[in-house]
Protein backbone atom coordinates (compact mmCIF):
# COMPACT_ATOMS: atom_id res chain seq x y z
CA UNK A 1 0.00 0.00 0.00
CA UNK A 2 1.16 3.52 -0.72
CA UNK A 3 -0.06 6.69 0.87
CA UNK A 4 -2.74 8.32 -1.20
CA UNK A 5 -4.99 11.08 0.10
CA UNK A 6 -8.37 9.80 1.22
CA UNK A 7 -11.26 10.63 -1.09
CA UNK A 8 -12.59 13.31 1.25
CA UNK A 9 -9.19 15.00 1.21
CA UNK A 10 -8.98 14.77 -2.58
CA UNK A 11 -12.42 16.29 -2.78
CA UNK A 12 -11.17 19.58 -1.35
CA UNK A 13 -9.63 21.86 -3.96
CA UNK A 14 -6.42 23.72 -3.12
CA UNK A 15 -7.08 26.94 -1.25
CA UNK A 16 -7.21 30.11 -3.33
CA UNK A 17 -5.33 31.79 -0.52
CA UNK A 18 -2.57 29.18 -0.58
CA UNK A 19 -1.80 30.07 -4.20
CA UNK A 20 -1.33 33.74 -3.35
CA UNK A 21 0.59 32.89 -0.26
CA UNK A 22 3.09 30.92 -2.35
CA UNK A 23 3.37 33.70 -4.91
CA UNK A 24 3.86 36.32 -2.20
CA UNK A 25 6.45 34.22 -0.38
CA UNK A 26 8.64 34.19 -3.50
CA UNK A 27 8.84 37.97 -3.56
CA UNK A 28 10.79 40.44 -1.47
CA UNK A 29 9.52 43.69 0.00
CA UNK A 30 5.87 43.16 -0.57
CA UNK A 31 3.19 45.00 1.34
CA UNK A 32 0.62 42.43 2.25
CA UNK A 33 -3.01 43.41 2.59
CA UNK A 34 -3.82 39.72 2.50
CA UNK A 35 -3.38 38.97 6.16
CA UNK A 36 -6.46 37.84 8.07
CA UNK A 37 -5.10 38.44 11.53
CA UNK A 38 -4.38 41.49 13.69
CA UNK A 39 -1.01 43.19 13.29
CA UNK A 40 -1.06 43.96 17.01
CA UNK A 41 0.47 41.68 19.59
CA UNK A 42 -1.77 40.17 22.23
CA UNK A 43 -2.31 42.57 25.17
CA UNK A 44 0.69 42.57 27.47
CA UNK A 45 -1.36 41.56 30.52
CA UNK A 46 -2.54 38.41 28.70
CA UNK A 47 1.01 37.56 27.64
CA UNK A 48 2.20 38.15 31.19
CA UNK A 49 -0.50 35.79 32.51
CA UNK A 50 0.69 33.13 30.06
CA UNK A 51 4.29 33.58 31.23
CA UNK A 52 3.26 33.43 34.88
CA UNK A 53 1.28 30.24 34.31
CA UNK A 54 4.39 28.66 32.78
CA UNK A 55 6.57 29.84 35.66
CA UNK A 56 4.14 28.20 38.06
CA UNK A 57 4.36 24.98 36.10
CA UNK A 58 0.71 25.02 35.05
CA UNK A 59 1.37 22.83 32.05
CA UNK A 60 -0.99 19.90 32.43
CA UNK A 61 -4.25 19.18 30.59
CA UNK A 62 -7.30 21.05 31.78
CA UNK A 63 -10.86 19.74 31.94
CA UNK A 64 -11.96 18.65 28.46
CA UNK A 65 -14.48 21.47 28.32
CA UNK A 66 -11.88 24.00 29.39
CA UNK A 67 -10.95 25.47 32.74
CA UNK A 68 -14.03 26.10 34.82
CA UNK A 69 -12.70 29.56 35.68
CA UNK A 70 -12.45 30.45 31.99
CA UNK A 71 -15.91 29.11 31.16
CA UNK A 72 -17.34 31.25 33.97
CA UNK A 73 -15.58 34.34 32.57
CA UNK A 74 -16.84 33.56 29.06
CA UNK A 75 -20.40 33.16 30.37
CA UNK A 76 -20.18 36.52 32.16
CA UNK A 77 -18.66 38.27 29.17
CA UNK A 78 -21.22 36.92 26.67
CA UNK A 79 -24.05 37.84 29.02
CA UNK A 80 -22.75 41.36 29.56
CA UNK A 81 -21.65 42.21 26.03
CA UNK A 82 -23.94 40.18 23.78
CA UNK A 83 -26.93 39.38 25.94
CA UNK A 84 -26.23 35.65 25.55
CA UNK A 85 -26.84 33.48 28.62
CA UNK A 86 -25.07 30.13 28.72
CA UNK A 87 -24.33 27.80 31.60
CA UNK A 88 -20.58 27.30 32.06
CA UNK A 89 -21.23 23.75 33.24
CA UNK A 90 -22.73 22.24 30.13
CA UNK A 91 -23.33 24.91 27.50
CA UNK A 92 -19.79 26.16 26.83
CA UNK A 93 -16.89 24.26 25.29
CA UNK A 94 -13.41 25.80 25.08
CA UNK A 95 -11.74 24.83 21.80
CA UNK A 96 -8.44 25.30 19.99
CA UNK A 97 -9.68 28.30 18.06
CA UNK A 98 -13.18 28.91 16.73
CA UNK A 99 -12.16 26.80 13.71
CA UNK A 100 -11.93 23.68 15.84
CA UNK A 101 -15.38 24.44 17.21
CA UNK A 102 -16.87 24.61 13.72
CA UNK A 103 -15.14 21.38 12.72
CA UNK A 104 -16.55 19.70 15.83
CA UNK A 105 -20.04 20.98 15.07
CA UNK A 106 -19.96 19.68 11.49
CA UNK A 107 -18.82 16.25 12.60
CA UNK A 108 -20.74 15.92 15.85
CA UNK A 109 -24.08 17.41 14.84
CA UNK A 110 -24.47 16.38 11.19
CA UNK A 111 -24.41 13.01 9.50
CA UNK A 112 -22.65 12.23 6.23
CA UNK A 113 -25.14 13.06 3.51
CA UNK A 114 -26.71 15.87 5.51
CA UNK A 115 -26.33 19.26 3.97
CA UNK A 116 -25.27 22.65 5.18
CA UNK A 117 -26.14 26.01 3.65
CA UNK A 118 -23.08 28.24 3.64
CA UNK A 119 -23.46 32.01 3.30
CA UNK A 120 -20.80 33.10 0.85
CA UNK A 121 -18.34 34.69 0.44
CA UNK A 122 -17.07 33.15 3.65
CA UNK A 123 -14.09 32.13 5.73
CA UNK A 124 -12.14 29.59 3.71
CA UNK A 125 -12.53 26.67 6.13
CA UNK A 126 -16.30 26.17 6.15
CA UNK A 127 -16.65 24.30 2.86
CA UNK A 128 -13.57 22.04 3.32
CA UNK A 129 -14.70 21.40 6.90
CA UNK A 130 -18.09 20.27 5.64
CA UNK A 131 -16.48 18.05 2.98
CA UNK A 132 -14.19 16.44 5.56
CA UNK A 133 -17.32 15.66 7.60
CA UNK A 134 -19.02 14.10 4.56
CA UNK A 135 -21.61 16.86 4.59
CA UNK A 136 -22.97 18.34 1.35
CA UNK A 137 -22.73 22.07 0.81
CA UNK A 138 -25.45 24.37 -0.49
CA UNK A 139 -23.93 27.64 -1.67
CA UNK A 140 -25.82 30.72 -0.52
CA UNK A 141 -24.19 33.56 -2.44
CA UNK A 142 -24.96 36.87 -0.78
CA UNK A 143 -25.11 39.90 -3.06
CA UNK A 144 -23.29 43.18 -3.16
CA UNK A 145 -26.62 44.99 -3.66
CA UNK A 146 -27.70 43.56 -0.28
CA UNK A 147 -24.37 44.67 1.20
CA UNK A 148 -23.47 40.98 1.48
CA UNK A 149 -26.13 40.40 4.11
CA UNK A 150 -28.19 37.24 4.31
CA UNK A 151 -31.76 37.80 3.19
CA UNK A 152 -34.79 35.56 3.01
CA UNK A 153 -34.67 35.98 -0.75
CA UNK A 154 -31.12 34.63 -1.22
CA UNK A 155 -31.85 31.82 1.23
CA UNK A 156 -34.93 30.82 -0.75
CA UNK A 157 -33.28 31.20 -4.15
CA UNK A 158 -30.30 29.09 -3.18
CA UNK A 159 -32.35 26.15 -1.91
CA UNK A 160 -31.20 26.57 1.69
CA UNK A 161 -34.65 25.40 2.85
CA UNK A 162 -33.62 21.84 2.00
CA UNK A 163 -30.44 22.02 4.09
CA UNK A 164 -30.08 20.80 7.66
CA UNK A 165 -27.99 23.66 8.93
CA UNK A 166 -26.96 27.20 8.05
CA UNK A 167 -23.46 28.52 8.69
CA UNK A 168 -22.49 32.14 8.46
CA UNK A 169 -20.08 34.67 9.88
CA UNK A 170 -21.11 38.23 10.81
CA UNK A 171 -19.24 40.53 11.07
CA UNK A 172 -17.98 38.85 7.96
CA UNK A 173 -14.66 37.70 6.66
CA UNK A 174 -14.00 38.63 3.82
CA UNK A 175 -16.54 41.42 3.22
CA UNK A 176 -16.64 43.28 6.53
CA UNK A 177 -20.45 43.15 6.33
CA UNK A 178 -22.47 43.10 9.54
CA UNK A 179 -26.12 42.35 10.25
CA UNK A 180 -28.38 44.14 12.69
CA UNK A 181 -30.84 42.34 14.95
CA UNK A 182 -33.66 43.53 12.72
CA UNK A 183 -32.02 42.09 9.63
CA UNK A 184 -31.36 38.79 11.39
CA UNK A 185 -35.08 38.39 12.23
CA UNK A 186 -35.88 37.28 8.67
CA UNK A 187 -33.01 34.79 8.73
CA UNK A 188 -34.19 33.46 12.08
CA UNK A 189 -37.77 33.08 10.81
CA UNK A 190 -36.52 31.23 7.74
CA UNK A 191 -34.49 28.83 9.90
CA UNK A 192 -37.41 28.16 12.23
CA UNK A 193 -39.85 27.61 9.37
CA UNK A 194 -37.50 25.22 7.60
CA UNK A 195 -36.12 23.57 10.72
CA UNK A 196 -32.48 24.55 10.14
CA UNK A 197 -29.98 24.69 12.94
CA UNK A 198 -27.58 27.63 12.83
CA UNK A 199 -23.84 27.69 13.28
CA UNK A 200 -23.12 31.36 13.93
CA UNK A 201 -19.46 32.30 13.69
CA UNK A 202 -19.17 35.47 15.78
CA UNK A 203 -15.41 35.66 16.02
CA UNK A 204 -15.46 39.34 14.95
CA UNK A 205 -18.34 40.26 17.31
CA UNK A 206 -16.33 42.89 19.17
CA UNK A 207 -14.89 44.47 16.05
CA UNK A 208 -17.83 46.55 14.88
CA UNK A 209 -17.78 50.22 13.94
CA UNK A 210 -21.32 51.31 13.15
CA UNK A 211 -23.55 49.40 15.55
CA UNK A 212 -23.19 46.84 18.33
CA UNK A 213 -23.18 43.17 17.44
CA UNK A 214 -26.39 41.17 17.77
CA UNK A 215 -26.29 37.39 17.99
CA UNK A 216 -29.04 35.43 16.27
CA UNK A 217 -29.23 33.26 19.38
CA UNK A 218 -30.83 36.18 21.24
CA UNK A 219 -33.85 36.16 18.91
CA UNK A 220 -37.04 34.31 19.86
CA UNK A 221 -36.90 30.57 19.30
CA UNK A 222 -33.27 30.63 18.16
CA UNK A 223 -31.23 29.82 21.23
CA UNK A 224 -32.28 26.18 21.14
CA UNK A 225 -31.30 25.78 17.49
CA UNK A 226 -28.07 27.76 17.41
CA UNK A 227 -24.44 27.05 18.24
CA UNK A 228 -22.41 30.27 18.58
CA UNK A 229 -18.67 30.31 17.97
CA UNK A 230 -16.30 32.93 19.25
CA UNK A 231 -12.69 33.17 20.37
CA UNK A 232 -9.76 35.31 21.36
CA UNK A 233 -7.95 35.54 18.02
CA UNK A 234 -9.45 38.68 16.57
CA UNK A 235 -10.61 41.12 19.25
CA UNK A 236 -7.73 40.26 21.59
CA UNK A 237 -5.17 39.69 18.81
CA UNK A 238 -4.39 36.26 20.22
CA UNK A 239 -4.36 34.22 16.98
CA UNK A 240 -1.29 32.21 17.92
CA UNK A 241 -2.78 31.20 21.26
CA UNK A 242 -5.33 29.10 19.35
CA UNK A 243 -8.22 29.59 21.70
CA UNK A 244 -11.92 29.75 20.95
CA UNK A 245 -15.17 28.46 22.33
CA UNK A 246 -18.57 27.19 21.30
CA UNK A 247 -21.85 27.87 23.11
CA UNK A 248 -25.10 26.07 22.59
CA UNK A 249 -27.72 23.80 24.10
CA UNK A 250 -26.25 21.07 26.34
CA UNK A 251 -26.99 18.28 23.85
CA UNK A 252 -24.98 20.06 21.12
CA UNK A 253 -22.04 20.92 23.37
CA UNK A 254 -21.97 17.41 24.87
CA UNK A 255 -21.87 15.83 21.40
CA UNK A 256 -19.09 18.19 20.28
CA UNK A 257 -17.15 17.48 23.45
CA UNK A 258 -17.26 13.75 22.69
CA UNK A 259 -15.06 14.33 19.64
CA UNK A 260 -13.04 17.09 21.31
CA UNK A 261 -12.11 14.89 24.30
CA UNK A 262 -10.65 12.20 22.02
CA UNK A 263 -8.91 14.47 19.52
CA UNK A 264 -7.81 17.65 21.27
CA UNK A 265 -8.37 16.46 24.89
CA UNK A 266 -8.34 20.07 26.00
CA UNK A 267 -7.46 23.46 24.55
CA UNK A 268 -3.93 24.76 25.27
CA UNK A 269 -3.57 25.36 29.01
CA UNK A 270 -1.25 28.37 28.76
CA UNK A 271 -3.66 30.01 26.37
CA UNK A 272 -6.54 29.47 28.78
CA UNK A 273 -4.67 31.32 31.52
CA UNK A 274 -3.99 34.17 29.09
CA UNK A 275 -7.65 34.24 28.07
CA UNK A 276 -8.87 34.60 31.67
CA UNK A 277 -6.62 37.63 32.04
CA UNK A 278 -7.76 38.98 28.68
CA UNK A 279 -11.42 38.86 29.70
CA UNK A 280 -10.69 40.33 33.12
CA UNK A 281 -8.28 43.10 32.31
CA UNK A 282 -7.66 43.73 28.62
CA UNK A 283 -10.72 45.61 27.40
CA UNK A 284 -8.83 48.88 27.10
CA UNK A 285 -6.52 47.15 24.65
CA UNK A 286 -9.51 45.95 22.62
CA UNK A 287 -10.93 49.48 22.55
CA UNK A 288 -7.60 50.92 21.43
CA UNK A 289 -7.17 48.33 18.68
CA UNK A 290 -10.75 48.88 17.48
CA UNK A 291 -10.10 52.63 17.34
CA UNK A 292 -7.04 52.00 15.18
CA UNK A 293 -8.94 49.65 12.87
CA UNK A 294 -11.70 52.20 12.49
CA UNK A 295 -9.21 54.88 11.42
CA UNK A 296 -7.66 52.53 8.92
CA UNK A 297 -11.09 51.48 7.67
CA UNK A 298 -12.02 55.12 7.07
CA UNK A 299 -8.70 55.66 5.35
CA UNK A 300 -9.03 52.69 3.01
CA UNK A 301 -12.68 53.38 2.14
CA UNK A 302 -11.90 57.00 1.47
CA UNK A 303 -8.96 56.14 -0.77
CA UNK A 304 -11.07 53.68 -2.76
CA UNK A 305 -13.66 56.37 -3.20
CA UNK A 306 -10.98 58.69 -4.57
CA UNK A 307 -9.80 55.94 -6.92
CA UNK A 308 -13.34 55.50 -8.17
CA UNK A 309 -13.47 51.91 -6.93
CA UNK A 310 -16.86 50.85 -5.62
CA UNK A 311 -16.58 49.58 -2.07
CA UNK A 312 -19.57 49.26 0.19
CA UNK A 313 -18.85 50.57 3.68
CA UNK A 314 -17.61 47.63 5.72
CA UNK A 315 -18.96 47.95 9.25
CA UNK A 316 -17.11 45.16 11.05
CA UNK A 317 -14.03 42.90 11.15
CA UNK A 318 -10.93 44.40 9.46
CA UNK A 319 -11.59 43.86 5.80
CA UNK A 320 -12.65 46.00 2.88
CA UNK A 321 -14.14 44.23 -0.11
CA UNK A 322 -13.97 46.56 -3.12
CA UNK A 323 -15.14 45.67 -6.58
CA UNK A 324 -12.29 44.55 -8.80
CA UNK A 325 -11.64 46.88 -11.72
CA UNK A 326 -10.80 43.92 -13.96
CA UNK A 327 -13.15 41.10 -14.96
CA UNK A 328 -10.91 38.48 -13.45
CA UNK A 329 -10.00 39.29 -9.83
CA UNK A 330 -7.35 36.55 -9.68
CA UNK A 331 -5.57 38.00 -12.71
CA UNK A 332 -5.77 41.47 -11.20
CA UNK A 333 -4.43 40.35 -7.83
CA UNK A 334 -1.57 38.51 -9.47
CA UNK A 335 -0.68 41.46 -11.72
CA UNK A 336 -0.84 43.88 -8.77
CA UNK A 337 1.45 41.62 -6.79
CA UNK A 338 3.97 41.18 -9.61
CA UNK A 339 3.95 44.81 -10.69
CA UNK A 340 3.60 46.74 -7.43
CA UNK A 341 4.43 44.22 -4.73
CA UNK A 342 1.03 44.62 -3.10
CA UNK A 343 -0.70 41.41 -2.02
CA UNK A 344 -4.49 41.37 -1.97
CA UNK A 345 -6.71 38.31 -2.15
CA UNK A 346 -9.25 37.74 -4.94
CA UNK A 347 -12.79 37.39 -3.63
CA UNK A 348 -13.22 34.04 -5.37
CA UNK A 349 -10.89 32.52 -2.77
CA UNK A 350 -13.84 32.87 -0.39
CA UNK A 351 -16.36 31.12 -2.58
CA UNK A 352 -19.25 32.01 -4.80
CA UNK A 353 -20.49 35.50 -4.09
CA UNK A 354 -16.93 36.77 -3.79
CA UNK A 355 -16.43 36.92 -7.54
CA UNK A 356 -15.45 40.30 -8.94
CA UNK A 357 -14.12 41.55 -5.62
CA UNK A 358 -10.86 41.83 -3.72
CA UNK A 359 -10.30 41.31 -0.01
CA UNK A 360 -8.17 44.02 1.50
CA UNK A 361 -7.14 43.54 5.11
CA UNK A 362 -6.49 46.71 7.04
CA UNK A 363 -4.85 44.82 9.87
CA UNK A 364 -1.75 46.62 8.62
CA UNK A 365 0.00 49.75 9.91
CA UNK A 366 -1.14 53.04 8.42
CA UNK A 367 2.19 53.79 6.78
CA UNK A 368 2.08 50.52 4.87
CA UNK A 369 -1.59 50.97 4.08
CA UNK A 370 -0.88 54.41 2.67
CA UNK A 371 1.98 53.13 0.54
CA UNK A 372 -0.10 50.16 -0.66
CA UNK A 373 -2.99 52.45 -1.61
CA UNK A 374 -0.61 54.79 -3.45
CA UNK A 375 0.79 51.86 -5.40
CA UNK A 376 -2.65 50.54 -6.16
CA UNK A 377 -3.73 53.95 -7.38
CA UNK A 378 -0.74 54.26 -9.68
CA UNK A 379 -1.33 50.69 -10.92
CA UNK A 380 -4.90 51.64 -11.84
CA UNK A 381 -3.70 54.76 -13.67
Amino acid sequence: MTFEPADRVDAVPPSGIRRFFELAEEMDDIISLGVGEPDFSAPWAAREAAITSLERGQTSYTANRGKRELRERIARYEDTRHDLTYDPDDEILVTAGASEGLDLAFRALLNPGDSIAVAQPCYVSYVPGAIFAGVDVVDVPTRVEDEFKLTREVLEESGAAEADALVYCYPNNPTGATMTGEELRDVAAFCRENDLVVFADEIYADLTYEHDHTSIATLPGMRERTVVFNGFSKAFAMTGFRLGYAMGPPEAITAMNRIHQYTMLSAPTTAQHAAIEALDNCWEDVTEMTTQYDRRRNYVLSRFEDMGLECFPAAGAFYAFPECPWDDASEFAEALLQSEGVAVVPGTAFGEGGAGHLRISYATGLDDLKEAMNRMESFLD
Binding site: A24, I30, G34, R295, R296, N298, A343, L366
Partner: protein, 164 residues
Protein backbone atom coordinates in the same frame (compact mmCIF):
# COMPACT_ATOMS: atom_id res chain seq x y z
CA UNK B 1 -18.67 60.30 14.02
CA UNK B 2 -15.19 61.71 14.31
CA UNK B 3 -14.48 64.28 17.00
CA UNK B 4 -12.09 67.21 16.86
CA UNK B 5 -10.17 65.51 19.64
CA UNK B 6 -9.44 62.60 17.31
CA UNK B 7 -7.30 64.94 15.20
CA UNK B 8 -5.14 65.51 18.29
CA UNK B 9 -4.78 61.77 18.88
CA UNK B 10 -3.76 61.22 15.29
CA UNK B 11 -1.20 64.03 15.35
CA UNK B 12 0.19 62.69 18.61
CA UNK B 13 0.58 59.35 16.85
CA UNK B 14 2.30 60.88 13.85
CA UNK B 15 2.66 64.63 13.43
CA UNK B 16 3.61 64.14 9.81
CA UNK B 17 0.18 62.93 8.75
CA UNK B 18 -0.86 65.26 5.97
CA UNK B 19 -4.13 67.11 5.93
CA UNK B 20 -5.20 64.67 3.24
CA UNK B 21 -4.30 61.66 5.43
CA UNK B 22 -6.25 63.09 8.36
CA UNK B 23 -9.27 63.74 6.17
CA UNK B 24 -9.14 60.16 4.88
CA UNK B 25 -9.08 58.79 8.42
CA UNK B 26 -11.86 60.93 9.84
CA UNK B 27 -15.23 62.27 8.76
CA UNK B 28 -13.77 65.73 8.22
CA UNK B 29 -12.98 67.27 4.86
CA UNK B 30 -9.48 68.57 4.16
CA UNK B 31 -10.54 72.16 4.70
CA UNK B 32 -12.17 71.25 8.00
CA UNK B 33 -9.02 69.45 9.13
CA UNK B 34 -6.94 72.51 8.24
CA UNK B 35 -9.27 74.78 10.19
CA UNK B 36 -9.32 72.49 13.24
CA UNK B 37 -5.53 72.17 13.35
CA UNK B 38 -5.16 75.93 12.96
CA UNK B 39 -7.60 76.52 15.80
CA UNK B 40 -5.72 74.12 18.05
CA UNK B 41 -2.46 75.86 17.19
CA UNK B 42 -3.88 79.33 17.79
CA UNK B 43 -5.40 78.29 21.11
CA UNK B 44 -2.07 76.85 22.25
CA UNK B 45 -3.49 73.34 22.47
CA UNK B 46 -0.91 72.20 19.95
CA UNK B 47 2.36 73.70 21.17
CA UNK B 48 4.63 72.37 18.46
CA UNK B 49 5.70 69.39 16.42
CA UNK B 50 8.86 67.44 17.18
CA UNK B 51 10.59 64.26 16.08
CA UNK B 52 11.02 61.45 18.59
CA UNK B 53 14.72 60.66 18.22
CA UNK B 54 16.53 57.54 19.29
CA UNK B 55 19.90 59.22 19.89
CA UNK B 56 21.47 55.84 20.51
CA UNK B 57 20.81 54.93 16.90
CA UNK B 58 22.48 58.07 15.51
CA UNK B 59 25.92 57.32 14.15
CA UNK B 60 27.97 60.28 15.30
CA UNK B 61 31.03 61.10 17.35
CA UNK B 62 29.08 63.78 19.14
CA UNK B 63 28.16 62.91 22.68
CA UNK B 64 24.60 63.72 23.62
CA UNK B 65 23.91 63.61 27.32
CA UNK B 66 20.58 63.73 29.04
CA UNK B 67 19.77 63.72 32.70
CA UNK B 68 16.71 63.84 34.88
CA UNK B 69 17.07 65.98 37.95
CA UNK B 70 15.00 65.86 41.11
CA UNK B 71 14.55 69.32 42.57
CA UNK B 72 13.39 70.18 46.04
CA UNK B 73 12.34 73.73 46.75
CA UNK B 74 11.38 75.87 49.73
CA UNK B 75 8.53 78.28 49.20
CA UNK B 76 7.94 81.57 51.02
CA UNK B 77 5.12 84.13 51.03
CA UNK B 78 6.43 85.85 47.91
CA UNK B 79 7.45 82.79 45.88
CA UNK B 80 5.27 79.99 44.62
CA UNK B 81 5.91 76.97 42.42
CA UNK B 82 5.10 78.89 39.24
CA UNK B 83 7.68 81.54 40.02
CA UNK B 84 10.40 78.94 40.39
CA UNK B 85 9.18 77.06 37.31
CA UNK B 86 9.29 80.25 35.21
CA UNK B 87 12.87 80.84 36.22
CA UNK B 88 14.07 77.27 35.64
CA UNK B 89 12.17 76.70 32.38
CA UNK B 90 13.87 79.65 30.71
CA UNK B 91 17.21 77.84 30.47
CA UNK B 92 17.60 76.34 26.99
CA UNK B 93 19.30 73.28 28.53
CA UNK B 94 16.02 72.37 30.24
CA UNK B 95 13.93 70.20 27.91
CA UNK B 96 11.08 69.51 30.29
CA UNK B 97 9.97 70.58 33.72
CA UNK B 98 7.13 69.13 35.74
CA UNK B 99 5.78 69.67 39.24
CA UNK B 100 5.31 66.23 40.75
CA UNK B 101 4.00 64.69 43.94
CA UNK B 102 6.17 62.52 46.18
CA UNK B 103 9.65 62.83 47.59
CA UNK B 104 10.66 65.84 45.54
CA UNK B 105 8.93 68.82 43.96
CA UNK B 106 10.10 69.24 40.38
CA UNK B 107 11.14 66.72 37.79
CA UNK B 108 13.58 68.36 35.41
CA UNK B 109 15.05 67.04 32.16
CA UNK B 110 18.29 68.49 30.93
CA UNK B 111 20.26 67.97 27.72
CA UNK B 112 23.86 68.83 26.99
CA UNK B 113 26.79 67.91 24.80
CA UNK B 114 28.74 66.29 27.62
CA UNK B 115 28.44 65.14 31.20
CA UNK B 116 30.68 68.02 32.19
CA UNK B 117 28.36 70.51 30.53
CA UNK B 118 25.27 69.05 32.22
CA UNK B 119 27.04 68.90 35.61
CA UNK B 120 28.16 72.50 35.35
CA UNK B 121 24.73 73.59 34.33
CA UNK B 122 23.18 71.96 37.41
CA UNK B 123 25.82 73.20 39.81
CA UNK B 124 26.25 76.70 38.35
CA UNK B 125 22.74 77.58 37.23
CA UNK B 126 20.17 75.44 39.00
CA UNK B 127 21.54 74.66 42.45
CA UNK B 128 22.32 78.30 43.29
CA UNK B 129 18.71 79.43 42.83
CA UNK B 130 17.82 80.50 46.39
CA UNK B 131 14.55 78.54 46.68
CA UNK B 132 16.14 75.28 45.51
CA UNK B 133 17.21 73.28 48.53
CA UNK B 134 18.38 70.05 46.89
CA UNK B 135 19.19 68.56 43.49
CA UNK B 136 19.65 64.88 42.66
CA UNK B 137 20.91 64.23 39.14
CA UNK B 138 20.33 60.96 37.27
CA UNK B 139 22.19 60.62 33.98
CA UNK B 140 20.19 58.73 31.36
CA UNK B 141 22.26 55.76 30.28
CA UNK B 142 19.98 54.36 27.61
CA UNK B 143 16.48 55.00 26.38
CA UNK B 144 13.99 52.25 25.54
CA UNK B 145 10.81 54.23 25.10
CA UNK B 146 10.08 57.91 24.46
CA UNK B 147 6.73 59.62 23.90
CA UNK B 148 4.98 56.27 23.68
CA UNK B 149 7.40 54.89 21.09
CA UNK B 150 9.58 51.91 21.89
CA UNK B 151 13.14 51.87 20.60
CA UNK B 152 13.47 48.17 19.94
CA UNK B 153 14.14 46.18 16.81
CA UNK B 154 11.40 43.64 17.36
CA UNK B 155 8.81 45.08 15.06
CA UNK B 156 9.35 42.72 12.14
CA UNK B 157 6.07 41.42 10.86
CA UNK B 158 6.52 37.67 10.66
CA UNK B 159 2.89 36.88 10.00
CA UNK B 160 2.09 34.80 6.94
CA UNK B 161 1.95 37.22 4.02
CA UNK B 162 -1.45 35.87 3.01
CA UNK B 163 -3.72 34.13 5.48
CA UNK B 164 -7.42 33.26 5.98
Amino acid sequence: MSSRREILHLLRENARYTTEDLAHMTDFSESEVEAIVEEFEDAGVIRGYQAVVDWGAVETDEERVRATVELNVALDRETNYSDIADRVAKFPEVTSLRLVSGDYDFDLEVEGDSMREVSHFISDKIAPIPEITQTVTHYIMDSYKEQGMTFDDHDDDDRLSVSP
